[in-house]
Symmetry: C2
Subunit: 410 residues, 2 copies
C-alpha cells in the first residue's frame, strides 16, 4: 500500500544535527512490510534521563504498559521502535513479546531490560514475533551512529506519506544544547495523546522529574491539540530523552529560570511535530487551524475547538471547499460548552462570515470561497462570553481517508 505524498508536506526538511550521546540506525526485520525499514534502534549513553506521555486509552498496547512501568527508574539506554505491528491487544503473548524484545535489546546495548524503551505501531491484535529482533538488534548496536535522523523517522512510518523531523538549538545556562524530534502518525489521531509515536532527544542535562514536567505541559498545547479522526490509538507514545552530554550540572528544578529558553524551544518543536502529523492526516488535502476565542475558559475553548475539528461535516465541507459556517455553528452547539447562539462570530481566514448569530451583513460568498480554496485554512470562532482561548489543528475528510482505512489490513 503506497499513497502519494501529502500536498501539505513541508517543502524542505531541516538538517538534523548530531546529539552527543545519541546514536541511531534502522533495519529491515520483515515484521510486515517488504523492502523497507521497519525497525529503529537508538543507543543512549549512560546517564540518559527519560520522561514519557502515553495514550489515555483504557486498552493500551503492551509496549505502553512496559514503558509506563520502567519510567519510574528515570534512566534509559536504548529505544527500539518497530512499525507494521502494534503489539496491542495481544494478551499474554504481547507481554512476552515485549519482555523478549527488551532482553534482546539489553544484551545488544549492555544494559538492564528496564533501561530499554519500546514502541510499536501498525496492525492491532496480531501477535508480534519478537524472535525476529534476535540478530537484528545486535547488528543495530554495532552500526548505530550519530546521523540518520530522517531514516529513523522513515522507519517508524505506517500510513504516513512523509517522515516527520524537527530540530532546535537553544542556550541552557552556559551550554548550547540541541533538541531533535521525530514523529509518525496519520490516522487514529486524537487527544489525548494525538501522537501515535514521537521521540525527542536532547544533549541537555536535565533530571527525569523535570523532563517529565516539561513534557507533560508541552504536550497540552501541541500533541493534545491535533486530531485527524477523533480516534485515539492504543499505542500513542511520546518519549523525551536527555543525555546530559552538553555539559553543566543537571537542571533539577522545573522552576529553574535557566530552563525557560529550553522550555520555549521544546514547546515550539512539539508544536511543529504535532502540526506535521495533521499535515499528513490520512487523505488530507487541507490543513485546518481552528482558533476559538471568547469562551468561558481555556478548557471550554479547547473542547469547542475539538468539537469543530472532529466534526465529519465540518471536515467534509473543507474537502469540498465549501464555506459552510452553518456546520461550524452545529459543532459549537454540540460541544455542550457554554455558548450563546446570538453572540457567535465566525471567520474563515480573514473573511468574517457570521456575526451576532446570523450571516454577516457584508458576507461575500466569493471572498469566503477564495479562502476555502487554499491549502491552509484558519477557522476562527469567537464565542463572545469570556477570555478562554484555544488553537487546534486538523485536516479535511476526503474520500482518500475512506479508501486508506477501508482496506488497511488487506
Amino acid at each position: 500500500m503506497s499513497h502519494a505524498v501529502s500536498p501539505l508536506a513541508p517543502q524542505t526538511y531541516p538538517d538534523m544535527p548530531a546529539i552527543a550521546g545519541v546514536r541511531l540506525t534502522t533495519a529491515e526485520a520483515g515484521i510486515r512490510y517488504k523492502g523497507r525499514t521497519d525497525v529503529l534502534y537508538v543507543a543512549l549513553d549512560e546517564g540518559t534521563q527519560v520522561a514519557g506521555v502515553f495514550t489515555r486509552s483504557r486498552c493500551p498496547s503492551a509496549p505502553v504498559d512496559w514503558c509506563r512501568e520502567n519510567l519510574s527508574g528515570g534512566a534509559a539506554r536504548a529505544l527500539v521502535v518497530n512499525s507494521g505491528n502494534a503489539n496491542a491487544f495481544t494478551g499474554l503473548k504481547g507481554r512476552d513479546a515485549v519482555r523478549l524484545t527488551a532482553e534482546i535489546a539489553a544484551e545488544a546495548a549492555g544494559c538492564r531490560p528496564g533501561e530499554v524503551f519500546l514502541a510499536s505501531t501498525g496492525v492491532i491484535g496480531e501477535p508480534l514475533d519478537a524472535t525476529k529482533f534476535r540478530g537484528v538488534l545486535a547488528d543495530c548496536a554495532g552500526r548505530a551512529r550519530p546521523e540518520g535522523w530522517q531514516d529513523a523517522a522513515r522507519a517508524i512510518m505506517t500510513t504516513d506519506t512523509f517522515p516527520k523531523v524537527a530540530t532546535r538549538r537553544v542556550r541552557l545556562g552556559d551550554a548550547e544544547v540541541v533538541i531533535n524530534g521525530i514523529a509518525k502518525g496519520a490516522g487514529m489521531i486524537a487527544p489525548d495523546m494525538a501522537t501515535m509515536l514521537s521521540f525527542v532527544f536532547t544533549d541537555a542535562a536535565i533530571a527525569a522529574p523535570v523532563l517529565q514536567e516539561l513534557l507533560t505541559s508541552g504536550t497540552e498545547k501541541s500533541f493534545n491539540c491535533v486530531t485527524v479522526d477523533g480516534d485515539t490509538s492504543t499505542s500513542d507514545t511520546l518519549l523525551l530523552f536527555a543525555t546530559g552530554k552538553a555539559g553543566g550540572p543537571a537542571i533539577s528544578r522545573a522552576d529553574d529560570p535557566a530552563l525557560e529558553p529550553f522550555r520555549a524551544a521544546l514547546n515550539d518543536l512539539l508544536i511543529e511535530l504535532a502540526q506535521l502529523v495533521a499535515r499528513d492526516g490520512e487523505g488530507a488535502r487541507k490543513l485546518l487551524t481552528v482558533e476559538v476565542t471568547g469562551a468561558e475558559s481555556d478548557r471550554s475553548a479547547h473542547r469547542i475547538a475539538m468539537s469543530i475539528a472532529n466534526s465529519p461535516l465540518v471536515k467534509t465541507a473543507a474537502a469540498g471547499e465549501d464555506a459552510n459556517w452553518g456546520r461550524v455553528v452545529m459543532a459549537v452547539g454540540k460541544a455542550g460548552e457554554p455558548a450563546d447562539r446570538d453572540r457567535l462570530a465566525i471567520s474563515f481566514g480573514d473573511v468574517r462570515v457570521a456575526v451576532q448569530g446570523a450571516r454577516d451583513p457584508d458576507y461575500s460568498e466569493a471572498a469566503a470561497s477564495a479562502v476555502m480554496k487554499k491549502d491552509e485554512i484558519t477557522v476562527k470562532v469567537d464565542i463572545g462570553l469570556g477570555d478562554g482561548t484555544a488553537r487546534v489543528w486538523t485536516c479535511d475528510l476526503t474520500k482518500a481517508y475512506v479508501e486508506i482505512n477501508g482496506d488497511y489490513r488487506s
Copy 2:
C-alpha cells in the same frame, strides 16, 4: 442533487391507516428545491395534546425555540414542516420567520399561533422567507385529508433516499388505538437527539404530561441510540401528538397499568423509526448494530457502544468488509469507561474473534469475512466487568458520505 436509494431501505412499506383527528397534506413552496414537495401541513382536531423532545445543541434553531416555548400549553392544532432551509442561526430574522409562519398557519387552521408547531430542515444560516407560506398554508388547510402519510414523509426529506414511516395498532383500555410515525434524517445524526425530525400521531386519549413521560423515556432506547456521523443537528425535533378521538377518558397518570401495551407499542415504533434513519445514513451500505454487554452500568455500556458506533476507523473497516476488531478495541479504549483489556470479548455476528484480551484461538478469518460481507452486521462486545448493556445502531462510512457532504451547498 439526487442519490440512489439506500440498499438498506425496507423492501416494503406498511399501509398507514388514518388516525381520527389528523388530516395532512403537502405542497411545493419552492423554498429551495424545484419540482418536489417541501412543505408538510398537518391539521389536528381540537383537544389534541402534544409532547416533544429536542436537540441538546447549545445553538438550537429558531423553530426548536418556538416549539419549546409553546409546549408548556400542551395543546396543538397544526404542524408545519418545511425542508430545504433549517432556519437555524438566522438571528432575529429567524425568530421573525417563525412567528410569521405560525401566524399564517394559525389563520389557516383557525387557532392561536401558540397551538402551531413548527420544524425546519435543510441548510443552516440562510434566512428563511416565510412569506412563501402565505397562500400555501391556507390552501393546505383546505386540502388536508386523513391519507397521504408516505407523501408526508417524502415532503420532509433532504438527503434522505427513502421516506420513513411506521405504524402500530394497540389496545388502550377499551379502545383500539393507532400510532403512526414519520421521520427524516440521514446525516448530522447523533445523540442526543439523533432524529433530525420525527412526528408521531395517535388517536389515543392521553394527557400532555403523560405523553411527555412516554416520549422522553421512549427516546432513550431509540433515537438516542442511533448515530450516523456523531454530528448533532441544531434542529432535531421529535413531537408526539394525541388527538383523543379513539374515545375513552384521557389517561392522566404515567403509571396507569392500562398504558403499558401502548408504551410498548410506542417504544417499538420509535425504535423502528430510529433504525430507518441509520439505514438511510448518508452513503450507507451496511447497517451496524453495536451490542455491548458486561459493562459496569447501562450508562457506561451506552457510552462504549456510542464510541464504537462513532469511530471513523470502525466505520471505514465495515465499509471495506474488514473484520478489523483491533479498531473495536481502540474504540472501547477511547470511551474512557471502565474496561479491562484482558477481559474483553468481541464478536462479529456469531463469530467470536477475540477473547480474554487476544485473538480467539479458534479465530477464522474466512468466517469473520463472511459476516462482514452481509448488509447487516452486529458487533458484540462483552466488557466482562458487570451487568450493563446497551444496543445502538449506525452505518458504515463510505466515500459516498464524503461526496454527499463535500458538495451539499453547491
